[in-house]
Symmetry: C2
Subunit: 416 residues, 2 copies
């Protein structure tokens, strides 16, 4: 079954916003085994939208539209889609009531415009919206299915997950299941090379790599007549990935992030951690604190951007800084050792490097980052060299530091 | 003049990556005064791409394509575009040499595939690529202009900025200039309301708002026969925005970020700063350290996620924490006062709040964030309530804290 996506909004054509909805919807459709051949963006222009809808009807069986369901005169997606399918708009009482509730709850004044949003094409399935005033709509007409969704991601995402995904799932004669295996500590091309034979030979299940900063995610997808049968197809491939990547796999749960995986390990082993950051300057602590509940294991962190701060807060000896420089394995190790002591934590992960654009030399170029993890008396130290701008270098350093921290905690188990 | 964008890549249709190229190119085209009515995404499929190119030729005068210029068999954008314009591919010696240089410099082995990238449609303008092996291409045929660009943003962006932007600029009979006025401390809808009369009345110059987290950017664009004349049109409108928004404007330079504006103020007034973060957990320090050179003014920062850390590192009295709780104006103020003292800094910006998803109560719901800025003896304290998930709440809190810090430093000048 083919699906086509049309995003409506002049703000997309002007580049005011990035089209994250397209990536979200496309990924979900791929998970469902739907083939998407076209995505389009048009402005809030009913003539052009109508033309595009007619073209889409000829080439795709499911047409998903996002945006243009707002209360203003410009918002004409619903009107245009109804016109193409020859339907009138009728008031939906429940939609009207939901709009009223939504506005009252937020103490906002309801304007006449808002009631426009309670009108839906006749004989359509209404997708009620808990996060905004625009209901979504599903229309079926012959071989065509048209799905209209509100543009704001905080409305579109839950509506898709809760109402559209199950609807599309039912259209598929087969059950499609997928599992995400997430790796850290390996680059995308190395990961891909390791499974090239699997990718080349694949039909069902399939495996596809998704590159993230400092991580590679592998999605295994299988089609079968039942959930159980699909997972039975996935299982041997997952086992094969497990054999090939071993402890580089930090989770097989798509909802678990790298920092969450680290948190689970800390919790399992009841180890506390602190951070000592120079070039990453708080971003590493910031990522760990993404995890609700980390407060039991991370009580404090240090941003020690200057040499004085490294001495004062972490007890790094002036001698080390003078002899080896702030960006050195010796300083990274002293920061890690000193940070753990200062915080009274089992572990300290320390990062020091040159994020640029200035400050690089031939011996110590921009992008050179040392990191060290002190874990109950043991030190794990790493030298990395990243390319990219200041932002990218810091982002990669944070991902590597989380990976090093994870490895140290994993090893603690092995030896403990 | 109308422009249309076609992004080629199966990875976009599968949702593996977000189409940031589309937003980048669209914004640049809007700056140039080019009207974009359509954006499309197709996979690496020559049949569908050809059909789309023929449609685009009928409705747009400039067609920009991104992606599909790689060395593999799948990459067929160049071949397809050449076919539509009835051109043969010929080897470009300079492109070949550039590919060789690029690969050798990186110590990579050149495969037979790579030489495919040295072939370009005859009679085309070649855009040499300093950041990859795929040259870009411009073809002119009757009223049609086709511009082919490599997909990776680190290749596309510099090629666009350096070669395509000037090319498109020349096509425009008029000079188009723009200026970005950036605001903080005001929401998008309030900002828009304040200039609704200007937006409604506008023809040349125009002003358009772009919403960012905790910021609003207003782009003024003017068309004229010369640069000087365009800026002469911009100037009174910028003055008008200055009158209406006053010190909420933190810069009129599109390259300056909020943290850079704060850095410039700290430098101007020679004030040092430190951070004391609870719920933002390092992200505020992380943003300040985005600015190269901040090290002179920010030497250290504290992540004090637990009550113990607030007492130990910042000297917050146990009494205050007990009586008012960790999320209170009293604690925020004690953190700010204590942080400045601990770091020996002129200023400390402190943040404490409930980022969720748990930990909220009726009196102190998720999203409640207190922040306080101590600046040479004065305290500026703010209570905010954000909606969204944990990530959004923390991101907004960081933006507000930077705004509060900026205000405190600005006021210091007034009173100094």
């Amino acid at each position: 079954m083919t699906v086509e996506l049309i995003c409506v909004g002049t703000e997309l054509l002007l580049g005011n916003i990035v089209n994250t909805n397209a990536a979200f919807i496309s990924e979900k459709c791929a998970m469902l085994g739907l083939s998407m051949y076209y995505q389009s963006v048009v402005g809030d222009n009913p003539g052009r939208l109508e033309e595009l809808l007619r073209t889409a009807r000829e080439r795709s069986s499911v047409i998903i539209l996002s945006g243009g369901l707002g209360p203003t005169q410009d918002d004409l997606t619903k009107e245009t889609a109804a016109k193409v399918l020859h339907r009138n708009l009728v008031e939906d009482k429940k939609a009207k009531q939901k709009i009223q509730e939504f506005m009252e709850k937020r103490g906002r004044r309801i304007t006449e415009n808002n009631w426009k949003q309670a009108f839906v094409p006749e004989n359509s399935q209404v997708l009620y919206n808990s996060n905004g005033t625009a209901p979504g709509i599903i229309m079926e007409e012959g071989q065509t299915r048209m799905i209209l969704l509100p543009g704001p991601p905080n409305e579109l995402i839950p509506m898709f997950e809760e109402q559209v995904f199950p609807y599309l799932h039912k259209l598929q004669p087969e059950t499609i299941c997928s599992k995400m295996v997430k790796l850290c500590g390996i680059g995308e091309s190395s990961a891909e090379t390791k499974i090239l034979d699997l990718i080349d030979a694949q039909t069902n299940p399939t495996v596809a790599p998704y590159a993230k900063t400092g991580e590679v995610h592998l999605r295994i997808t299988a089609k079968a007549e039942s959930k159980q049968a699909a997972y039975a197809l996935i299982e041997p491939l997952e086992q094969e990935l497990q054999n090939r990547f071993g402890s580089l796999i930090y989770t097989d749960d798509s909802n678990v992030t790298l920092e969450m995986a680290v948190y689970h390990l800390l919790k399992e082993k009841q180890l506390t951690v602190t951070t000592a950051e120079s070039c990453t300057g708080g971003l590493l602590a910031g990522r760990l604190i993404n995890v609700p509940g980390i407060s039991e294991y991370l009580k404090e962190g240090y941003v020690t951007y200057s040499n004085e701060a490294k001495e004062k807060l972490l007890g790094v000896e002036a001698e080390i800084l003078k002899k080896h420089g702030a960006v050195s394995s010796q300083t990274a190790e002293a920061m890690a050792r000193g940070g753990a002591k200062a915080a009274g934590a089992d572990i300290c992960i320390a990062v020091t490097g040159i994020a640029g654009p200035d400050g690089g030399t031939i011996e110590k170029p921009v992008g050179l980052v040392y990191m060290s993890c002190f874990c109950r008396g043991k030190l794990y130290t790493e030298k990395n060299h990243y390319s990219g701008d200041r932002g990218k270098i810091r982002e990669y350093a944070v991902a590597s530091a989380l990976t090093l921290l994870r490895e140290a905690v994993l090893k603690y188990k092995d030896e403990g």
